[in-house]
Symmetry: C2
Subunit: 193 residues, 2 copies
């Protein structure tokens, strides 16, 4: 019998990502949309508070995900405000701000598991390192994480995510899924009695 | 007998501003620091939600203020994320993003009054229009609103706020205080039985 987990998200893409990885571990993901007020804090704190908030409503074991994009030379900007920044100054704004030399940046994703208000929530983390390209390249498709795919060149790659062919992207994704927050969670949860 | 109002803020500068203007109307401002979770939404929505949250704790007539800085050519960026943006990309980052020609921008401040959970909160608004200077000028002092004073040239002025002498700044402030959210609120509140 397969285990079930509620995934609190309004983002279909994130739901499909979770489903894809957790299926391998025999875990069924049930998407649930809840409008959660945005807490203050870093992405870890945000994930924890969202998970607790959702638990009060759902009252079943659940996960929430929070993510951010961090540019080293800009003190981490835009962090948890990535969507807002993409909607206002956009990719072009980010490239204007980027330094010529230090172009390091990373995606950070936090998965928070909560199965009770008095129990400590569990965190699982993934960091995907890379560099900003000089200009936007490629074409963003529905399976990409974000418009940042136009300018994000993952570590060890030479193309932006959006430049990769579907096959190249699948390979890249397989690499970053290995040992990821999703896999860590799956192992933890499938062993849980 | 003077009327009292609670002002929920952790910002001493805002408290002194309120005190200065409201004193003229015989209103005594009592600062109260409450750690309020940052709600989602535009500055009006944020102010309303913060006021309601604070009212649940204070249970006395109170005001909260929320503010943002809006740059026309950047779709309003950085809006309610001004502090975060100043702490990461800073003044220099904002100038990098600014367009050569359209440099219009404005401060928006919202005052929200709440005196009961079932009563509709009242909003009072001030907009201070201006332009971004080409480079940072002057010296920011404690009585300035924000580091943006280095690059904000108010409408009808030729200096950045930080370039103004103390006397010039006092004159400018008198101008923008006239008819402001503070004055609107003072009139409303002092007439309230």
């Amino acid at each position: 019998m397969s285990k079930k987990i509620f995934f609190i998200t309004t983002n279909k893409g994130k739901y499909f990502s979770a489903k894809r990885v957790l299926k391998k571990y025999g875990i069924t993901v049930i998407q649930k949309e809840i409008n959660i007020p945005e807490p203050r804090g870093n992405i870890e704190e945000i994930a924890i508070q969202k998970a607790k908030y959702a638990y009060k409503i759902v009252r079943k074991p659940l996960i929430v995900m929070d993510a951010g994009f961090f540019i080293d030379s800009l003190n981490g900007f835009p962090m948890m405000f990535t969507n807002f920044v993409l909607e206002t100054i956009g990719i072009q704004g980010i490239l204007k701000l980027a330094q010529r030399k230090n172009r390091s940046c990373e995606f950070r994703e936090i998965l928070c598991y909560c199965d009770g208000l008095r129990k400590k929530p569990r965190l699982f983390k993934r960091v995907v390192e890379g560099k900003l390209s000089r200009k936007p390249k490629g074409k963003v498709k529905s399976y990409h994480w974000s418009k940042l795919a136009y300018i994000f060149v993952p570590k060890g790659e030479i193309k932006t995510m959006a430049e990769m062919t579907e096959k190249e992207f699948t390979n890249f994704r397989r690499k970053v899924d290995a040992g990821s927050h999703w896999e860590q969670f799956s192992k933890f949860y499938s062993q849980k009695s």
